[in-house]
Amino acid sequence: MFGKVIKIAVLSLLTYLLQATTAEYLALWNVAPNLALMMIAIVSVALGRKYTFVVALLVGYLLEIMIPMLEYLNLILYPVAAMLGAMVFSDKSERKLGAEFTIGKHGTQLNPHLRTPLCAGLSCLIFEGVHLLYTYLAGVALTAGHWERTIVSVVYTTLLTGLIQFPVRWWLGVYKLKKAR
């Protein structure tokens, strides 16, 4: 039990460190992927919403106090974006699946390997959307360059999540759990 908690703590710290130090080196066309949201999305699908909230809040807090860009933004935006993504793409409970089945839906969920990048993409889209909104409200006219950067960021984050989800999920013990079941 404590192992999982420790793993979550280490993962949160690692996520912050990667976002703070490594993301800039992975920039594509000068657009860096959002490694923090990638990790949070993986946690969302693999471990559920409670852990998602903890990790997102911790990462947001660390980014807020260590790399403050806009006041409150990281602290609020990371948990919000992560939770919105988790709401859509995290594992559904058995009760919810049963309820869906009773109203005529399939009552199944997508493959987690597909949900993970989609979750990251959604979170990133929300994150970028808020930034675009803030930029627009600050009086800057949005150009094609803004949209282009947003699209590149979302697509790049989504694709990269699809790649790195396997080692992270393995490290979190998701595959071991599935095998045991």
Binding site: M1, K4, V5, L13, L17, A20, T21, T22, Y25, K50, Y51, F53, V54, L57, L58, G60, Y61, L62, E64, I65, M66, E71, Y72, L75
Partner: protein
Amino acid sequence: MKLKVPKTERRKSVDSKGKRILRNVLIVAAVVVLLALAGTHLFKLIIGNEQLAVPEEAVTSILTPLQSGFASVVDGISNYFYTLKLRSRLELEYNNLRQENEQLVYQAMLVQELQHKLSAYETLFDEIAENELMNPLVATVIGRTSGNYFSVFTINKGSNDGIEDFMAVTMGGALVGYTYNVMPTSSSVRSIIDSEASIAGLISSSRDQGTVRGTFGVDGQAMCRMYYLPEDHLPRPGDLVVTSGVGMSFPKGIPIGTVRESTRGMESNKQYIVVEPSADFEHVEYVIVLRYQPTAEAVEERSSSNDSIAYTPLDTVVPIPTIQIGSDFYQLSPTATPSPEPSIDPDATPSPSPDASAEAAPTPDGGNQNYEYQVPSSMQTDNSYGFTLAPTATPSPTPPPLDLSVEED
């Protein structure tokens, strides 16, 4: 009816339920702590109370060294990959530059070759323009002997182009040889340095006439020797030797070479002079064949004239090689040199005999001055000494000092 659950199963269920509760408690505690920290931070930002920054500073103080270490590791990895990338770029750039350099070198070589060709063509054009009456024809050398005894090469023009045997072949304003073994599309050219070649020549300054032969088969030198000169005159180094127009259908006045060494007068049996050919036999690529045909008047006049060279060898001719220039070796053995008997036999050499060829090979200067070979202006150079030697110098065993008998240009 109640199912009986074993005690161990019941204990496991209780344990897992306890763990779940504990985990939830921990999560809630973590969330509460995090929310507290976040709230503190927010309040600090709103109120501006510095005391609220204490937890934040604690986290920062723990995180900063950790982040520094992590950043240095990431930077190291990044630098490593950057170096790899840079190296691959440098290698790529180096390969590109190398390829470009090779192309440029090739182009430069091509340009050099074209320049060389252009220069050769200019010279050829000059020569052709100057000697239009000689019916010149440009030919390309397409093969040459690689032996040590004969100097013969093949050109790409033959009887289809009007070439016949014993026509003069020039290059750069100097005689190279004459044609023989003419085929429809190719001809052989025997160089004047070939031992088998024999051409009537004269000393330009003194008008002394003789026979020029090659020495290539004698001592391996690309030189000529001139035999049968009058006994009372001694050519001097630097004198120009030209064709006399006697014998084969050669135009008169084609430069053969310059007198390099005179051995006549030293001893009674050394009766020839060494002539250094003007043509560069190591770089023969394009030549001009002078398809000269003497007119009937010229032939008639020549047959009635007494000016023609009589290829009568001197009684005293014993061609023993003289001192080789640039060597202190004196070759005294007469067996190493061609004996005068076979070489002066008109039948054994392509050179015309005084009697038989006199009819077939008229002199080109039979009253027609236009038939004299005109050295192209670009090729007209003084001798290497830069002055003209007196044509009737007194015989002496060695060349006299250069400043004693010169006429300044």
